[in-house]
Symmetry: C2
Subunit: 656 residues, 2 copies
C-alpha cells in the first residue's frame, strides 16, 4: 500500500495529501480542544472516593431492594455459603469429595512439617487444617483455594517469634505469643478488608513476591537438611551461610546414614511422582497422594526395623484429640501484646498476599469475580477464630489449591471434606505417626517448596522490567543471606522506590514526523522520523504533579538547550517554537501549572513560543481555571501535534 | 467548515470520507505497531540511573576538557563566585550596593524578632545574618536570594527545641541543642545535594507548602500578641486555642495600653508603607526601610519618654561584638546528638524547601539555570559553618529576596553588603537597641508574615486540584490548631497519599466515536460521541504497574459488566469486542502483564475478543517479550482505535 493512498495519522491530523490545498489557502480548519463541562464539587469528590474505596461497587446488588431482601443479601455477602449452598447438588459433591480427600492426603504430612518450621508442636499444624477451612468454607468466596498452614508463613512466623522468645527454654510463652500473633494477623486481615484498604497489599509487587517466595523456599529447604541428614545440633539461624557451615561442620560425625537413606530415596520417589503428574495431567493424583504413601511406607519401615534406635529421628509423640480452646492463652495485655501485634501484622499481610494471589488466579481461570476486600474479611475471621482454637496463621496454599483445582473441586466443600479427614486423623490416627521419621517430613517439605523457586517467572520478570528484577533479586538474596524479614523489607522498599521513581522521573521524548504521514513519533524509536526546522516537539509521558513538575520543566529546558547547541553547530534556523505533546499527560496539579508557567517565562526570555498539543480533559480544564491558557494564548493550544506544527510554520508541511 | 472537508482524526485513522471505498474493499491498509529495537541492558540501566540522579547533566561542562581545566571547572562549580567574580563590574556593584543596604535595613529588626521566635537571644539572629550570607555568596548560584533567619524556620526550630529543653530553666543546653540542630540541618542539606537526592524535597507539594506557610504565619502573628499587647505571662503553646485563651484571660489586667499604642500605630504605619510600595513599584524602598525607621523612631520615643518604666517591654540588652565560635558547643555525643539530628533534619528540609522555591522563582524570572542539588550543597555548607559560628538555621527569605530583586541586585554581592552592614551593627550599634520596644518588633514581624497567608494561591489551588486543596487545608489547620510539626506531618502525609492515589487509582473512560470524524473520545466529556454496537472501547489513563494492575483489570471488567447489563436491557447486539485504547499507558510491568493475561482469560470465557489500540514503545516491547502479543494474536494489536474498530466490524464504519 502506498502512503499516499492511506497516510497514517494518529495525531488528529488530516493526511497531508488531501489537505495540502486547504492548508495553503490557510483555511482555519484547526480544531479547538474542548473544555469539559464543569463538575459539581460534591459529585467530583464522591466519584474519587467511590473509585478509591468502592471501585468494584460491592453494594450494587443492594440497589432498589426491599429491607428484608437487603438484610438477606447482607447475610449472604458475609456467608456466601448460603447462596451457593442452595444450588449445591450431588454432582458437585462428587467433585468436592475427590478433591477434598486428595488435598487432605497432601496436607496431613505437610502440616506436621510446617508446624516444625514455626517451631510449634506438630499437632498445631493439624489443628490449623481443621478449624480455619471450616470457617473459610462459610465465609470465603473462592471455590478453589485450599486453606491451611503454608510453608512460607510458617517460616516467617517462626523466625519472628524466635526473635522474641526461645521456644526451647520457655515453650509456653512461645505458644501464647504464637496465638497472639495469629489473632492480630486475623484482625489485620479483617480490618484491611473491612476498611476497603485491600489495595495496600498490591504494593508488594508481583516481582517482589516471586523473589521473596523463592528465597523463602530455599531457606526452608536448607532448614530441612537437619531432618534430611539427621543432624542433632543445628544452627538456630536461617541464613544460608550459617546453615551450610553448621551442616558441613557436622558432616564428619553428625550425619546419620540411615536417615539420609530414607530421606534421599523418598525424595527421589516424590520427585518422580511429581514428574509423572507433570507429564500427564490426568495422573495429578499420583504426586498428590505420594507424600501420604511415603509417610505410611516409611513409618511402617521404621516401625519394623526400629531404625529409631539407630539414630533415625521420629515424630515420637502426637497428641490425640481435637483443638483445645486457646482464648485465654492470647496476650491481651503486657508488652507481649505489642510484640504479638507487630508479628501478627507482618505475617498477616504476607499470608494475605498469598491467599489473594491464589484467589485471583483461579477466579480468572474459571471467570468468577472475587471481592478482594470481602475475601480478606473472611480470611481474617478465619484466623481470629483459629487463634482461639489453638491454630496458628493459616492461609491459602499454592500447591494444595492447584491440586484442589485439578482434582475438580466445585465449591469450598472440598475444604470441609479435608477438615473432616483431618478431624478423624486427630481423633484416631495420631498414634500411628509415632514412628514417622522426621526425614520423610523433610523430604516432603523440600519436595513441596521446590515449585516456589519460580525460575521461569524470574526470567520473564528480567525480560519485562529490569527494576522489577532488581526488586525480585533483592528480596531473594535478602531472604537467603540475611533473614525473612529483611528480605520482605527489601522487597517492599524497592517496590516503593519504584513507585517514587515512576512519579518523579517520567519519560520525555523528542518527536519527529514520519515521512509520508503526519504521525509524530519518538525519533529514537523511529530514526527515519524527520524534525521540522525551527520547531522542537517534546512529548511528556506522565501526569505532571508536584512530584515531577520540576523534573519535567528542567528536562524540557535541557532538551531545548541541547537542541539549540546542535542547531548552532549545524547552523540551522534557530528554534522558534516548542511544542509539548500532552496526550499522555493525564492530569496536572498546582505544581504542574507553576512549572509550566516557569517554563513559559524562561521561553519568553529566549523568544521561543510555547505551544501545547492535545491536552486531555482534566488538563485543559485546569489550564483554563488557572488562566494559563490565557497566558500563552488560546490559539497556542491544538488538538494535535500536526496542527500545532502547521500553525507554527504553514509552509513547512509542504517541504516534508 | 464541514466535517466532510476536514474530518478530525487523532487516532491514526484516515478520515472515513476518503477511505470508505478501500475499506469496503477490505484492503488490508492497517498499520502495524512497530516494536522498537532491542536496548542494551547496560545502556538501559545507565540511562535510567542518569535520568534519576543526573537528569540535569551537571558534568556537561567537563566533557572533553584538559585535566587542569577540569580541576578549574570543578573549583568553579563549588565556588561560582570565581566565575561571575571575574565578570563583575562597577555597574553591577551599584545595583548590589543599593539592594544590599535595603535588605540590611529590612533584616536587622527582623533578625532580632525572629531570634525571639526561636527562643534565642536577639544577637543570634544578627549573627545568622552575618556569616551565612558570606558563605552563600561564595558557593551559591542564585543571584537574587537574600540569606538569613526566616520566620517559619525560626518558629519550627523553636517549637522543636522547646519540646526537648526548656530555654528558661537551662538556656545553655538549649543553645547547644540549637547549634547541634543547625549543624545537622546543614549536613542534611549538603548530603541531599551531594547524593543528588534533591528531588526528595519535591515531595512536599506546592499546595502543602502554601498551607503550611499560611498556618505558620498565623501562628507567628499570634505569638506576637505577647509583645503587641505587652502581656507578661503568656502560654508556651503555639496552637490558636491556647494562645487566644491566654490573651483573653490576661485582657482585664495583663494588657499594657502604652505598648498597644506603640505597636498598633507603627503596625498601621508599616501597612500603609507596604500599601504604597504595592501601588507604585518604584517606591518599593518605602516598605523596605519602614521597619528600620519605625525601630529608630520608637526606640528614640521610648528613650525620651522612658515608657519602659510604664511597663513597655524593651530589648534591654544586646551584646556587642562578633560571632564567637560555637564549635565546642555542638553535641557530638550523648542523647542530645540524636535529638539534634532529628530536629536538624526536619528544619533543614523545611529551610531547603523555602530556599529552593525562591531560587527557582527568580531563576525563572531572569531565565538562568539553577542546579538544585548544587544549591543544596551551598546552603548546607552555609549552615554547617554557621553552626560553628553561633548562627542558627538560616535560609532564603521570601520577603527579603523579593525586595532584593526589586532593588535591582545583580549578584550575591548584595548579600555581602548586607552582612557587612550587619557586621558594623554588631560592632558598634547594638547598644542603641537597648530601648527598642518589643512591641515594635512584634509589629514588624506581624507585618512581615502577613504575605505568607497566600489567599490567592489557595483559591487557585482549590480551583485546580481539590486534593491539593485538602493537603493545603490539612497543613494549615494542623499548624494553627495543633502544632507546626503536626501541620508538616499532615502536609507530607497527604502529599504521599496523593501519590499513592495517583498510582493506585488511574482514570479509565469509555470512548465513543465523534460523529463525522473518526476521533474516539470519552463519552462523558463528549455526549454526542456514538458507541459502536457490539464493541466496547475503554481507555486506561496511566501506566499499568503492580500498584494499579488489579484495579485496572477489575475496573475494566466492571465497565464490561455494566455495559452487558445495559445491552441486555436495551436488547442490543451483545458485546463481542473489548478494545483497550493504550495511548496513555506509558509503561507496563510484570504485574501489569499478568493483569492483562487474567483479563484475557476471563474474556475468553465470555467469548469476547480482546483488542489493543496504540500501545506505546515500551508497552508493545513488553507485550512481545512476555508473549502476550502471541497470546491474543498480533492481528489484535492496532495503531489506532479507529483501525481496531474497523477490524472488529468492517461494516459498522459505514453505519456511523
Amino acid at each position: 500500500m502506498s502512503a499516499r493512498a492511506h497516510p497514517v495519522d494518529d495525531d488528529g491530523e488530516i493526511s497531508p495529501v488531501d489537505t495540502s490545498s486547504p492548508r495553503q489557502e490557510n483555511t482555519p480548519y484547526v480544531h479547538k480542544v474542548e473544555v469539559p463541562p464543569k463538575q459539581n464539587l460534591f459529585n467530583e469528590f464522591m466519584y474519587t472516593f467511590k473509585e478509591t474505596f468502592f471501585h468494584d461497587d460491592p453494594l450494587r446488588h443492594f440497589k432498589d431492594q426491599s429491607k428484608s431482601k437487603k438484610l438477606m443479601l447482607g447475610i449472604q455477602s458475609v456467608f456466601p455459603v448460603i447462596e451457593w449452598g442452595r444450588k449445591y447438588n450431588l454432582k458437585m459433591f462428587r467433585g468436592d469429595l475427590i478433591a477434598g480427600l486428595t488435598i487432605a492426603s497432601l496436607c496431613i504430612p505437610q502440616d506436621i512439617g510446617y508446624a516444625k518450621l514455626a517451631s510449634l508442636d506438630p499437632k498445631y499444624g493439624l489443628y490449623s487444617s481443621f478449624v480455619p477451612p471450616l470457617v473459610y468454607a462459610c465465609m470465603g468466596s473462592s471455590k478453589d483455594i485450599a486453606i491451611g498452614p503454608v510453608a512460607v508463613v510458617s517460616l516467617l512466623l517462626g523466625t519472628l517469634l524466635r526473635a522474641e522468645i526461645d521456644p526451647n527454654t520457655n515453650p509456653n510463652e512461645y505458644l501464647r505469643l504464637a496465638f497472639t500473633s495469629t489473632f492480630f494477623a486475623g484482625v489485620t486481615q479483617a480490618a484491611l478488608g473491612f476498611f476497603r484498604l485491600g489495595f495496600l497489599i498490591d504494593f508488594l509487587s508481583h516481582a517482589a513476591v516471586v523473589g521473596f517466595m523463592g528465597g523463602a523456599a530455599i531457606t526452608i529447604a536448607l532448614q530441612q537438611l537437619k531432618g534430611f541428614l539427621g543432624i542433632n545440633k543445628f544452627t538456630k539461624k536461617t541464613d544460608i551461610i550459617a546453615v551450610l557451615s553448621s551442616v558441613i561442620s557436622s558432616a564428619h560425625h553428625g550425619w546419620n546414614w540411615q536417615t539420609i537413606l530414607i530421606s534421599a530415596s523418598f525424595l527421589i520417589f516424590l520427585l518422580i511422582s511429581k514428574f509423572i503428574g507433570k507429564k500427564n495431567k490426568k495422573l495429578f493424583w499420583i504426586p498428590a497422594i505420594a507424600p501420604l504413601v511415603s509417610v505410611i511406607i516409611s513409618t511402617f519401615f521404621v516401625y519394623i526395623t526400629r531404625a529409631d534406635k539407630k539414630g533415625v529421628q521420629i515424630v515420637k509423640h502426637l497428641d490425640k484429640g481435637l483443638n483445645p480452646s486457646s482464648l485465654r492463652l492470647i496476650y491481651f495485655s503486657g508488652d507481649y501484646l505489642l510484640k504479638g501485634f507487630r508479628i501478627g501484622v507482618v505475617s498477616g499481610m504476607v499470608a494475605l498476599t498469598e491467599a489473594v494471589a491464589i484467589g485471583r488466579t483461579f477466579a480468572a481461570m474459571k471467570d468468577y469475580q472475587i471481592d478482594g476486600n470481602k475475601e480478606m474479611v473472611a480470611l481474617g475471621a478465619m484466623n481470629v477464630i483459629g487463634s482461639m482454637t489453638s491454630c496458628y496463621v493459616s492461609t491459602g496454599s499454592f500447591s494444595r489449591s492447584a491440586v484442589n483445582f485439578m482434582a475438580g473441586c466445585q465449591t469450598a466443600v472440598s475444604n470441609i471434606i479435608m477438615s473432616i479427614v483431618v478431624l478423624l486423623t486427630l481423633l484416631f490416627l495420631t498414634p500411628l505417626f509415632k514412628y514417622t521419621p522426621n526425614a520423610i517430613l523433610a523430604a516432603i517439605i523440600i519436595n513441596a517448596v521446590i515449585p516456589l523457586v519460580d525460575v521461569k517467572a524470574t526470567i520473564l520478570i528480567f525480560k519485562i522490567d529490569k527494576l522489577d528484577f532488581v526488586a525480585c533479586m533483592g528480596a531473594f538474596f535478602g531472604v537467603i543471606f540475611v533473614s525473612v524479614e529483611i528480605g520482605l523489607l527489601i522487597a517492599v522498599g524497592i517496590s516503593f522506590a519504584k513507585i517514587l521513581l515512576q512519579v518523579t522521573r517520567p519519560r520525555t521524548a523528542i518527536l519527529g514526523k514520519i515521512p509520508g504521514t503526519s504521525v509524530y513519533r519518538n525519533i529514537n524509536q523511529y530514526p527515519e522520523a524527520t524534525r521540522i526546522p525551527g520547531v522542537l516537539t517534546i512529548r511528556v509521558d506522565s501526569a505532571i504533579y508536584f512530584s515531577n513538575s520540576n523534573y519535567v520543566r528542567e528536562r524540557i529546558q535541557r532538551w531545548l538547550t541541547d537542541e539549540e547547541e546542535m542547531v548552532k553547530a549545524a547552523s540551522l534556523p534557530r528554534i522558534q517554537f516548542l511544542i509539548i505533546e500532552m496526550s499522555p499527560v493525564t492530569d496536572v496539579d498546582t505544581s504542574g501549572i507553576h512549572a509550566l508557567e516557569d517554563l513559559y517565562k524562561s521561553l519568553q526570555k529566549r523568544d521561543i513560543q510555547l505551544v501545547l498539543a492535545n491536552p486531555g480533559p482534566p488538563v485543559i480544564n485546569k489550564l483554563h481555571v488557572s488562566h494559563f491558557a490565557d497566558l500563552i494564548g488560546h490559539d497556542k493550544i491544538f488538538l494535535t501535534v500536526a496542527e500545532a506544527v502547521d500553525s507554527c510554520s504553514p509552509k513547512l508541511s509542504d517541504e516534508v
